[in-house]
């Protein structure tokens, strides 16, 4: 690949990363660091994006399509507990040891996403704690929102006693 093509590729990825709501208002210098760990990926309908128990080596920012987050129990069909779509994130287990997925994520529509190499990004966060802090301020609201949603689902408010 020529330098020109590489440069255009970097610019394209920077634009895609900046356009994703998860990275809204990302500083220029962080954008360069993040893009160094990013690539475009695509999953067809039914394809697994990640599987429970496997190493959390990457996470995904969905650009198009929708994925179902599922938990499987022996002898039962997989239960979808959440779906995520454009502008949302698949995978938070890459943030905390032991860096293993705790559920499956399956494309229910064709998914186009930005894949971020977790080890690469963790390394950059370790080297630059300010980047690490920036990443945490983006992930913590998602975690809080999902925790709150899980509480509501556990309450079973639409059930007989709801």
């Amino acid at each position: 690949m020529t330098e020109d093509l590489q440069e255009r590729g970097r610019e394209g990825m920077a634009r895609i990363v900046r356009e994703h709501p998860f990275f809204a208002d990302l500083k220029e210098e962080y954008c360069d660091l993040v893009c160094g760990c990013a690539k475009n990926v695509r999953f067809e309908v039914g394809e697994y994006i990640l599987r429970e128990g496997e190493p959390a080596n990457e996470f995904y920012l969905i650009r198009e399509g929708r994925a179902a987050l599922e938990i499987n129990a022996p002898g039962r069909t997989g239960i979808t507990f959440q779906t995520v779509g454009p502008g949302e994130v698949v995978g938070v287990s890459w943030l905390v040891p032991p860096y293993r997925w705790t559920y499956d994520a399956r494309a229910v529509e064709r998914v186009r996403a930005i894949s971020l190499d977790a080890e690469c990004l963790r390394g950059k966060c370790d080297d630059d704690p300010a980047l690490g802090y920036d990443m945490m301020t983006r992930f913590v609201p998602i975690l809080v929102q999902r925790l709150q949603a899980t509480r509501l689902q556990l309450l079973d408010v639409y059930g007989r006693d709801g």
Binding site: I79, T83, A149, L152, Q153, V157, Y158
Partner: protein, 268 residues
């Protein structure tokens, strides 16, 4: 206060434990406004408040009943031609007169879609009178989705944003899974010219109100339908007293900002 006698004209099953009854209104009982309810009395069993769930223009009373207790189970089991005691209509209505020209957000949870359905009939009868109409409906599972065909028909006919989410699902469900507030988006309405109607479990309504306000919708543009233990339906017995108000007489539909302080009082 004396029930009139109404006859069941039609009965249909909506989900495993939810039934809809069409009743011929008793003589002399007038029409109703979306959001109002009737007291339905199964002779020898008891009386319960049940919201209207039909089109106010159709000249009959339609009630969707979830069989969860002795009276509602008896109601749900009534066959065509059976009679039922009826008092009503009672209560306040969704303020349709305030909606013209505005974006409308209808948020429903579980059986809470039923009291909103008369409003949906009126909105979708003349959608051109309003801005963008969004119906966001959360329920327990795909098997618990109410009025699925009608929602689909309204979506196809009007292009309204009608979204259904469930708390959990298996592989056959291709729609969203998650809480109903996940369906909200700033693209659905202009907070300076919008009005929201919410009905569902109180926890669901609290979180829905909170999410709408986070998106800039003021409390005076949000209306909720409350549920309490209503008995007399005319504000005499006090069973449904909620601070200085009676849900049966002053409600069930309230403007949110008028209830805001009461909703946070745990003892009420």
């Amino acid at each position: 206060m004396v029930p009139a006698v109404a006859r069941v004209k039609r009965r249909r099953q909506e989900t495993a434990d939810v039934w809809t009854l069409d009743l011929d209104p008793p003589e002399g009982v007038g029409t109703f406004a979306p959001g109002q309810f009737n007291m339905l009395y199964v002779l020898g069993v008891g009386e319960v408040p049940i919201s209207m769930s039909g089109d106010p223009e159709k000249g009959r009373f339609t009630h969707t009943v979830r069989a969860v207790g002795a009276v509602s189970e008896a109601l749900a089991g009534l066959k065509r031609g059976s009679t039922v005691g009826l008092r009503g209509p009672f209560g306040s209505a969704w303020p349709l007169q305030e909606v013209a020209g505005k974006d409308v957000i209808v948020m429903a949870g579980g059986i809470g879609l039923a009291p909103l359905k008369p409003l949906l009939y009126r909105l979708f009868a003349n959608p051109e009178n309003y801005g963008r109409i969004s119906v966001l409906y959360g329920t327990r599972s795909p098997a618990d989705v109410l009025y699925g065909r009608e929602l689909e028909r309204w979506r196809d006919k009007t292009g309204a944003a009608i979204e259904i989410t469930v708390d959990h699902a298996t592989g056959e469900w291709h729609g969203p899974v998650g809480v109903v507030t996940n369906l909200l988006s700033p693209n659905l309405f202009d907070p300076d010219n919008a009005i929201a109607f919410i009905c569902g479990p109180e926890v669901m309504m609290r979180f829905s109100v909170s999410s709408l306000m986070d998106l800039g919708l003021p409390g005076e543009s949000i209306h909720i339908s409350m549920e309490r233990n209503m008995k007399c339906a005319v504000g005499h017995c006090g069973h449904c007293q909620f601070g200085p108000t009676f849900i049966c007489k002053d409600g069930p539909v309230f403007r949110y900002d008028r209830l805001r302080d009461l909703l946070s009082v745990r003892e009420l």
